[in-house]
């Protein structure tokens, strides 16, 4: 699970807060805090912290058949990792998927600005329509898309045929399968981006538009010179969230292509590769190394994006 807060809610004046802290520090809460936190700490320790440490350890080991014992192998999982063409294939596929899903963000900016048109009727109906794909179970919608993309009787190829285009076998040819998965990914994340961006748009003072209008700016100019710069923090937030969640591509791929699809090796994502190494091939040590790789990769991408944000977004 990933998260970010949209608005910094610690808007309390610093003086007030430190004052409150100071008062709190003076009192003793005895055993009470432990009653409140221990159940959570226990679960978090057992099911998250310990497993994270365990995975870090596993990434330096190899496990015998049937998970009997583990042998320390040093960095050999990682050296295997950097020369594994399958890993690069899955990284490449993940990047393509992410790039295509990110293309939805400009569309989301545009649609969000339309949906926020003051006094627009049916705005909440539109909001629901665009948001439905985000709340729908990915594996369930993937089954529908499987039929839509079907090479022989799918409605997509039927529509293409009306324009004289012979549609491909989307689900069974590697290049097209990835595009198909990306289209569904874009479709399901568009509404979420729109909602975040709409919230950002509501914070732009209407006076800015009035002023732009007095300056003779047309709608496009207003969009470019008022909406986009004012919205930059929300846009960056959506880019980061979309990137992180796209790097986690698994559900859609699994359900859209099916677990036994022969093209899976060419279409696999990083997380899918992790899954197949760890839970199908049962190579826990190597899967742990792949997991560490994904972690580091997401970390780097997030840091780079935050740096860029600091450079490009001046107003907050």
């Amino acid at each position: 699970m990933t998260f970010r807060t949209v608005n910094d809610r610690s808007a309390l004046p610093a003086a007030l807060r430190s004052n409150r802290r100071g008062r709190a520090a003076a009192r003793h809460d005895g055993f009470w805090p432990w009653l409140f936190v221990l159940p959570l700490l226990f679960g978090v320790g057992v099911f998250y912290i310990w497993p994270i440490l365990q995975t870090a350890y596993y990434s330096f080991t190899t496990s015998g058949a049937f998970g009997s014992g583990v042998t320390w192998v040093g960095f050999s999982n990682f050296s295997r990792l950097i020369s594994d063409p399958q890993l690069y294939q899955s990284l490449w596929n993940t990047l393509i998927y992410t790039a295509i899903v990110l293309l939805g963000i400009p569309i989301a900016v545009w649609l969000a600005s339309l949906i926020n048109t003051p006094g627009l009727r049916f705005a909440s109906l539109y909001r629901v329509l665009f948001f439905l794909p985000y709340v729908a179970m990915p594996t369930a919608v993937a089954l529908v898309w499987r039929i839509i993309f079907n090479g022989d009787f799918g409605i997509l190829n039927y529509v293409l045929s009306l324009f004289g285009i012979k549609g491909p076998y989307w689900i069974s040819s590697p290049g097209f399968a990835l595009i198909a998965v990306s289209i569904v990914g874009l479709w399901s994340s568009l509404g979420f981006s729109m909602i975040i961006l709409s919230a950002g748009l509501k914070n732009i003072p209407p006076e800015y538009y009035e002023a732009a209008e007095l300056d003779g700016a047309n709608r496009w100019r207003q969009f470019r010179s008022v909406t986009v710069p004012q919205l930059a923090p929300s846009i960056f937030f959506v880019i980061i969230i979309t990137t992180i969640s796209s790097f986690q591509l698994f559900d859609l791929l699994y359900a859209l292509l099916g677990p036994n699809n022969p093209i899976l090796p060419d279409t696999t994502s990083l997380v899918f590769y992790f899954y197949s190494q760890g839970f199908v091939a049962n190579d826990k040590g190597y899967a742990a190394a792949v997991a560490i790789f994904i972690f580091v990769l997401i970390g780097i991408v997030t840091i780079v994006q935050f740096r860029l944000q600091r450079r490009w977004v001046n107003n907050d």
Binding site: L40, F47, F131, P259, N314
Partner: protein
């Protein structure tokens, strides 16, 4: 970026204008038509897979596989919905989905609200260190703890059980973070008043603070329900029998299965997502605002 000159003009403009409710003079009425066209076409495209799914779920298998699509199946095949229950372990999977969602949501509300309150409002040794450890989980993608979680559940003999499905998801770092933020932003005065009236910390928490935190608790509930109902990876690794799976995993493993015909599959997937879709439509404003404020994905 707006230039200083523009800003000045903006300031003047806002003073000169008697603020209209819409804020945009001369933009009302007929000019909305192009906006409606774009949004309506977009909205229909977004909803199309659902509409098509409904149509296919009421068609015959031959109609679904026709080269020319059947846009209206003539005679509606309601029997497909009945077939879901006889041909697929739908009922037990539905039961699993409902149970794991209920259990995880209730558990997260209780555990995260309590822990979030202590982290925000109580003093104890190691508070900031423990908080940092809990929040550090948020930086780590799920794959990193998945293998070991699986081994723990396997070691406890919980594979293919409800316990195995729910166990790690009872605890949430995100929920703790969310609730801590909520409690941090509340005024201290109420709490102090309660303490002076002789309430113990639990009474203060339960009678004063929890009611104030209800909006955040509902955000936590919504995000947990969505995640729990839809999630695939964890149920997939801890359940091997179809009847032990929740709907998400059950449907996913059917993807390549040729023995189930398409209309029945469509009926099943529609029923699988219906509870969450209905919940969303009923609580749309709350869900949308909640997700927008939490930014959870």
């Amino acid at each position: 970026m707006t230039s200083a000159a523009t800003r000045l003009r903006m300031a003047r403009a806002s003073r000169a204008h008697v603020k209209t409710a819409t804020g945009r003079p001369g933009r009302r009425g007929g000019s909305h038509v192009p906006v409606h066209i774009v949004l309506a076409v977009g909205g229909i495209l977004m909803a199309f897979p659902f509409i098509w799914q409904i149509i296919m779920s009421l068609s015959t298998n031959a109609q679904v596989q026709g080269v020319v699509p059947t846009f209206w199946p003539g005679q509606l095949q309601w029997g497909n919905y009945a077939d879901v229950f006889t041909r697929l372990p739908f009922l037990s999977q539905l039961g699993n989905s409902v149970l794991i969602t209920l259990i995880r949501t209730v558990a997260q509300i209780i555990l995260c609200t309590a822990a979030g309150y202590a982290f925000a409002r109580m003093r104890f040794v190691g508070r900031s260190t423990l908080l940092a450890i809990v929040l550090s989980i948020l930086l780590v993608p799920a794959q990193v703890y998945l293998i070991s979680q699986y081994q723990i559940v396997q070691g406890l003999g919980w594979l293919n059980t409800l316990m195995g499905l729910v166990a790690p998801g009872l605890f949430s770092a995100f929920g703790t973070f969310l609730m801590r933020t909520a409690f941090l932003n509340m005024p201290a005065e109420l709490e102090e008043a309660a303490r002076m009236d002789g309430a113990n910390p639990f009474q203060t928490f339960w009678r004063i603070m929890v009611p104030l935190a209800l909006p955040s608790i509902s955000v936590l509930a919504i995000t947990t329900v969505l995640w729990s109902w839809n999630e695939l990876l964890w149920p997939l690794v801890v359940s091997t029998y179809a009847s032990a799976m929740p709907l998400s995993a059950g449907l996913a493993t059917l993807a390549g299965d040729v023995t189930v015909n398409y209309p029945v599959l469509m009926a099943a997937s529609l029923m699988a997502m219906a509870p969450v879709l209905i919940l969303f439509i009923a609580l749309q404003r709350r869900v949308i605002n909640g997700l927008a404020s939490s930014g959870l994905k």
